[in-house]
Symmetry: C2
Subunit: 370 residues, 2 copies
């Protein structure tokens, strides 16, 4: 089970003319808000023993590519928000804390060792424990427990930041229902994903539903809509945001699934075959099962979700994904969704500053190599 990280989705470069707000500064602005927030918390912390929580969280936060903040700010401008982006930036910072929560718990659930090129939270907290004199024999269990708590803290703080950011009652009242829905939908998506893992299935619709909850709505639609709602966007603008976000989000995840199997490990940072060994129930796999021969199905049943699968086994599975045409079909699905998203941008009159960033995000999300 995985929450889509936005590694590889670099923030759009700035083409902003001097007279339009500079969206590419979002990364810096969000960094400043997150650092100030964590500094406040650290200042109030009841003891030095809590230091590892701050170290690990700020390191993780420092390495995000700020895709959700970019979308939130683009939504702000799409919704007619003015030059003062401060409320949208605070919401964007809260989204990054929420994503940190999602990634920390996700890595615990997957038992992953690396995240954004560094040890995952549970590994880092296990190391901190032994460095600090904790028993080696208990370090791994400690790391997992501490990471569960750190994820909880990031979730609690994503809320705290919203409350303490001086958003104003009106803005808060407008966005909290969306935030609540976003949070619930992410957990639902994660659970559906978890449940479907290790069950080789030909149900493309079920796989697409997981994609919708886990990525399309959480990673793209809600950040964009949150910004737009903050700006007081008209209903037709919000509809346009969703019409753009959902196909883009699906394309984003479908690309991620392809990269998980066919990507260059040097680029993706993921060992070859991990997705196959984990038995991820992707659209790609469901399509292959639909089209596989009896013998191929039998082989997939044996190898997909088997941690013991050898590199040769992985190659045989990849061959089936290609021979059945599943890989090309997913490429076509990505293209169709990219075209739909771009068409929405063509048909909708968003302010240039928003349209420009959204176009760049479409490219980054669907054509990336990592």
């Amino acid at each position: 089970m995985t929450v889509l990280d936005d590694k590889g989705a670099s923030p759009p470069m700035s083409h902003a003319p001097a007279d339009t707000p500079n969206l590419s500064a979002v990364r810096t602005d969000v960094d400043v808000l997150l650092t100030a927030f964590l500094d406040r918390k650290a200042h109030l912390a009841p003891g030095p023993e809590l230091a590892p929580l701050f170290t690990v969280l700020s390191r993780l936060l420092g390495r995000g590519k700020r895709l959700r903040p970019q979308l939130c700010l683009a939504g702000w401008h799409a919704g007619g928000g003015g030059g003062d982006q401060s409320t949208a930036l605070n919401v964007a910072a809260a989204l990054e804390l929420f994503q940190a929560f999602a990634l920390i718990h996700d890595d615990v659930m997957d038992g992953s060792d690396l995240r954004r090129g560094r040890p995952t939270a549970h590994r880092a907290l296990a190391a901190a424990y032994t460095n600090d004199g904790g028993r080696r024999s208990k370090a791994e269990a400690h790391g997992v427990s501490a990471a569960i708590l750190l994820g909880d803290l990031a979730l609690v703080w994503s809320d705290d930041l919203l409350h303490s950011a001086g958003l104003g009652d009106e803005a808060l009242k407008r966005i909290m229902p969306l935030v609540d829905t976003m949070r619930t939908e992410l957990v639902y998506g994660q659970y559906l994903d978890l449940r479907s893992a290790d069950r080789l299935s030909d149900d493309v619709e079920a796989a697409l539903r997981v994609v919708r909850y886990k990525t399309a709505k959480y990673t793209v639609e809600w950040p964009l809509r949150l910004g737009a709602v903050l700006a007081g966007a008209a209903p037709h603008v919000l509809d346009a945001c969703s019409a753009f976000a959902l196909p883009l989000g699906e394309a984003f995840q479908l690309r991620d699934d392809l990269l998980g199997v066919f990507g260059d490990p040097a680029e993706t940072g993921k060992p070859v075959g991990d997705d196959i060994r984990e038995g991820k129930a992707t659209v790609l796999m469901a399509l292959a099962v639909q089209r596989a021969s009896a013998a191929e199905k039998q082989m997939l049943r044996t190898l997909v979700g088997s941690p013991a699968a050898t590199d040769d086994d992985i190659l045989r599975v990849k061959a089936v994904l290609q021979r059945t045409g599943a890989q090309q079909h997913v490429e076509r699905m990505i293209n169709a969704r990219r075209e739909t998203a771009l068409a929405v941008l063509d048909q909708t009159v968003f302010p240039t500053v928003a349209t420009r960033v959204l176009r760049e995000i479409v490219q980054i999300a669907t054509v990336r190599q990592a």
Copy 2:
């Protein structure tokens, strides 16, 4: 590491004269709110596959003794809240969802099998997975991951309930800072507790600090103050709430620590010696270490925190806790704190309905057998 469950702390019986609000109805009122909330969520859930999350959460919620709601309502009346308890009841229901989150993650971290006499969330979700055709070999890992997600969901929903309960902007604005602080302090307390486990220490102050964060503030002070703040209590009333809550909360946890070692398993539902095998860094243990002979210290170092400790080993550790006078000292600490809490009630003019319930909670929390 443990969050104090309120099993055994039965809701006060009603002595309420007809003309005062019936605080003992709190349990029913909170049940109704929680059931209605979960029904709304279940109605909106995107698929039947999510059913296990609802089953397990509502079963857990159904078995709480509603200590925090009792305190929240007592605070409401202490703060001068009127007969319409609805806002306080909604906050009380949110506190129960938050406690469900804390218990679910706590049981995952401790690897506990039973909670409130039933399988813990991760065990129940593992069983649901296999019943539903999931691979036996993956059931345990699935249960843990699903329970992490269910805990996350309960946390998200404790917030959702606050937002959707029609508390009104004014009430929300008043309590959110307290709620945020409460959440952060619980996670801090859990982390400090986790960190101190398996490190035999004579630091009574450190052990007391964990008690303060994990129990005194979270379980007693914040629920009481939340109710009082909702009612618009005057500052001196809030001070009285804390002056009452902190010693009571410490006494509550100290009693729990004694029961964890010397309690009757038939009453506590905890296997004898579990706290010792887990190496819980309690005030009781710190006092024993302070007073132990070199030989006794050596023995404690070997046996405390050793899952392999035999029942004879446990008896030897208990003997040290008694011979050193640590057990009696903790009894005296409990009595001193109970007296302080009761003295606050004597010196403070809370409305009778509040004082009565708070007196009953003092008895339940400090004199209980389970």
